[in-house]
Amino acid sequence: MRRGRLIGLAVALALFLALALQPGLFTPLLSLLVEPGTPLVYTRQSLIALAVWHIAVVASAEAVAVIVAVALGILVTREKGAEFMTLARMTSNLGQTFPPIAVLAMTVPLVGFGFQPTFIALAAYGLLPVFENTVAGLRGVPATTLEAARGMGMSKRAILMQVELPLAAPVILAGIRISTIINIGTATIGSTVGAKGLGEVIIAGLQAGNAAYVLQGAMLVALMAVCFDLAFRSLERRAFA
């Protein structure tokens, strides 16, 4: 099981790096998709640079989403914060159901083009899975364990830090994984408002009717998502060793 995951990760990572660093290797495959004479490899920007930008915007948005969602999840599972449950759930649901493309349309007039609107859209979009999993993880801590911790004289803070969060960690990590995977895909729309990222390749392909570009961009995004998924899964297993 663990070995299979590592092999999968190595293969996906190798394919991703090959495609990003040596796209020329794939020209025989890409040439099948387009009319002869069409450019096969996207060269306006280096693919690896776009990949790094892509990761940067997803990671920064995800960092904010995780901080906010975990904090909210902790708040609503405290005795005193229970009343905020409905509000917090509504907020994170709204973040997920409000189309990111609409968020872009609304935020561009406020913060301009490029990184910022994409960052805001992704942070809002990534909230829900992390929030719901944080709540589920914290609620899943066995009642007897909590009773024992309280009975032995642990402070509320110690119970949270030493017992609840470590026990909820695998579930919270799963939420972060889902949220990250979704956002790696969603981040491609950032290119419509000028954010640097792999979406640029896809959009250039769509505009020029070049299926080779579209496939290149989509493959890179998909492989990146697969790599993160596998890496997170091995992290989740280790969190509860």
């Binding site: 007897t144 364990t145 911790a149 309280r150 009975g151 032995m152 110690a158």
Partner: protein
């Protein structure tokens, strides 16, 4: 010393615990016995303030538990629950070390204490210290639970159905182990149980509770000999009370000087009067065991052995008298 005075807990209109009072002297075990919902667990949980009393007082060694800082109070009270509640993400050693760590003991002291406790509960430290709770059997988990509760030598130990979730054989073994440890350590214990046999086995004093009140509080023997009318009688059960009284006493208490009728021949012991080989009783055997052996062997007298030699004998009449109604 624990003193509980007029302790009351109301949940809305319902009175869960209705003005109960009792004392537990240092080194003694009090069992709170009753059916589900009688208020025994609530009473226990008011002592470490997992439940806030509606009124009344809890004094521990002369200090009012209700005035003490919550965490400080609980650090000084061991707590064992039916579900055990071991921390699944911590090793056995880390679990046992919970309270010493919270109290800021030094590492060497904690390590020494953990090893000592694991040995006390017959868990080889080399084998078990690094294991996780999920790798242990139910009985082993419960041993770790008790070890964790007494790790920092608390003044008071509270146990809520500690052996309830175990199979009967493991339960009996753990009860015996706990009784042996208690004889040496002399902890001040309040034990909640619905199992009358467990109370008879472990407690110095038994309080029978029903509907939030203590109906009778007495020593096991007194409870058996003079149970109050009604619920206490039902709970105690009168059919086998003679046998239960016998199980509270040991052979040592009624043994007489040996007569010359016992002869040791190598490994076997011969009763000269009947010419038959007999098995002797141990001085620590209960009179219930003695009675059973006397009935089975169909004899009037059995020898008491200690380290291979006869140190006394037990007569059937004395056993019957010990278990019978007092004149």
């Amino acid at each position: 010393m624990i003193e509980v005075r007029e302790l009351t807990k109301r949940f809305g209109d319902r009175i869960a615990v209705d003005g109960i009072s009792f004392e537990v002297r240092d080194g003694c075990v009090l069992a709170l016995v009753g059916t589900s919902g009688c208020g025994k667990s609530t009473t226990l949980r008011m002592i470490n303030r997992l439940v806030d009393p509606s009124s009344g007082e809890v004094m521990i060694d002369g200090r009012n538990a209700l005035d003490m800082p919550l965490e400080q109070l609980r650090l000084g009270i061991g707590y064992v629950i039916q579900g055990i509640g071991l921390f699944p993400h911590w090793t056995v050693a880390r679990n046992v070390a919970t309270v010493p760590r919270l109290m800021g003991w030094e590492r060497e002291r904690i390590e020494a204490r953990v090893s000592e406790l694991l040995e006390l509960f017959q868990l080889d430290p080399g084998e078990f210290a690094g294991k996780y709770p999920s790798e242990l059997s139910g009985g082993q988990q419960q041993r770790v639970g008790v070890a964790r509760a007494i790790a920092a030598e608390p003044a008071v130990l509270l146990m809520d159905e500690p052996f309830g979730a175990l199979d009967p054989i493991t339960r009996q073994r753990l009860q015996a182990e706990f009784a042996a440890i208690q004889r040496r350590r002399r902890m001040t214990v309040i034990l909640v149980t619905h199992d009358m046999d467990e109370a008879f086995k472990l407690a110095d004093t038994i309080a029978v509770m029903d509907e939030g009140r203590i109906l009778q509080i007495a020593s096991p023997e007194e409870l058996l000999r003079e149970p109050r009318q009604g619920f206490v009688r039902t709970l105690v059960g009168l059919d086998d009370r003679a046998l239960r009284i016998l199980s509270l006493h040991t052979v040592d208490e009624i043994r007489r000087e040996p007569t010359g009728r016992w002869e040791v021949r190598g490994e076997t012991l011969i009763d000269r009067e009947s010419g038959r080989a007999v098995n002797g009783l141990g001085a620590g055997d209960t009179l219930r065991e003695a009675a059973s052996r006397i009935i089975w062997e169909a004899v009037e007298t059995l020898p008491v052995l200690e380290a291979g030699s006869v140190v006394g004998e037990v007569r059937a009449d004395d056993v019957w008298a010990a278990g019978g109604r007092r004149a």
